[in-house]
Symmetry: C2
DNA sequence: GTCTATACACCGATAGAC
DNA sequence: GTCTATCGGTGTATAGAC
């Protein structure tokens, strides 16, 4: 039996995360799993597309269990947001690992996974929003700030790669809870 | 003589911007320019890498002339920032076009262009910082907010692609000037 | 300065032995 | 369930005619 399927998927994740869809060639995948091309097609009859789908599903579950789960707890909003920041730092390896969702918006796989990328981002935003309404923000303000949070995290990942420094990602994570919870101002916002 | 070199580069830009480095195949480049493979190698003896370099240089100049130039003017800080937002909206086609710098941090070309990507991002940040110090912010606060601005723009580009909506990018651009110029608070920031 | 033709490596995918 | 061998297609890059 050699390898459990979920174990294969687990080995596939870093390949897609590091090289993106097109860069995740069967050669690299073969090397990462230790399986030959034909064996891979035995486990994934639809080939690379099915592998990418499996990886996306796996990472989505992992993200839900580690990053979104703290948001669903019954602690204070501030505590839940700080827990998310800590989980994000782990999930993205201090900002040095890429976001699979953002990678899958690029190149030829853009159309393939567009619906799932959209859903993944919206799920994240929709988990953040009620935390902020519980903190006293209006539903509109909460949704907007939730979107801003995701924007800042994605942008920080870009700068962390581009500047080759984990400082932007670390700083954004650290300032996020206070920034999201600060009282809404009618005037200058 | 057929085509001026700068005209060729101009036609190359959308190819690299849409497909990234690896996705910008010679077939697509050939179609976009109307030139055969051999002709391309006549103009760019070092092949695709030289084409990408030319595109990066061209886009950097274009970015400097349209986005950074308003920041160097002698108008009020608020006016300069609003001018940047307007230029960004044009440069990124309402958020629907990608950032070449962020694309060039991915895949096999990451190492090739890392230094130039870093320089491009830092140049942008360093153009924003003095605008914010002129507005009364400390140098540290100004630099941090300048970095935040770039982070938000990059993140908004990701969400605009991922959610298939120009709303995030439009909103970030609109709220940027006020957000960057609001008085620094010692307490909740 | 552009073309046609082609070299050679690698791509994703499949056949068939074991 | 994994292997070796191979398919057709495409990738980047070159040679040589015009």
């Amino acid at each position: 039996m050699a390898l459990d399927k979920s174990e294969i998927v687990r080995k596939l994740v870093p390949v897609f995360r590091a090289f993106g869809y097109e860069g995740a060639t069967l050669s690299r995948i073969s090397k990462a799993t230790g399986l030959g091309r034909a064996s891979l097609y035995h486990h994934f009859p639809h080939g690379k597309q099915e592998m990418a789908q499996a990886v996306l599903n796996y990472v989505n579950e992992w993200f839900d269990a580690t990053v979104l789960e703290p948001l669903r707890s019954s602690h204070q909003p501030a505590k839940r947001l700080m827990a998310m920041s800590e989980s994000l730092n782990q999930f993205y390896n201090c900002g040095q690992d890429t976001c699979l969702l953002s990678l899958f918006t690029l190149g030829e796989c853009h159309d393939l996974f567009q619906a799932q990328v959209k859903q993944g981002l919206n799920t994240w935003i929709e988990h953040l929003t009620p935390v902020l309404t519980e903190a006293g923000l209006s539903i509109e303000e909460a949704h907007q700030r939730a979107e801003d949070a995701v924007i800042q995290i994605q942008g920080a990942l870009v700068l962390t790669r581009g500047l080759n420094s984990t400082e932007p990602f670390q700083r954004i994570l650290q300032q996020l809870p206070d920034q999201l919870l600060k009282p809404a101002s009618q005037i200058s916002n």
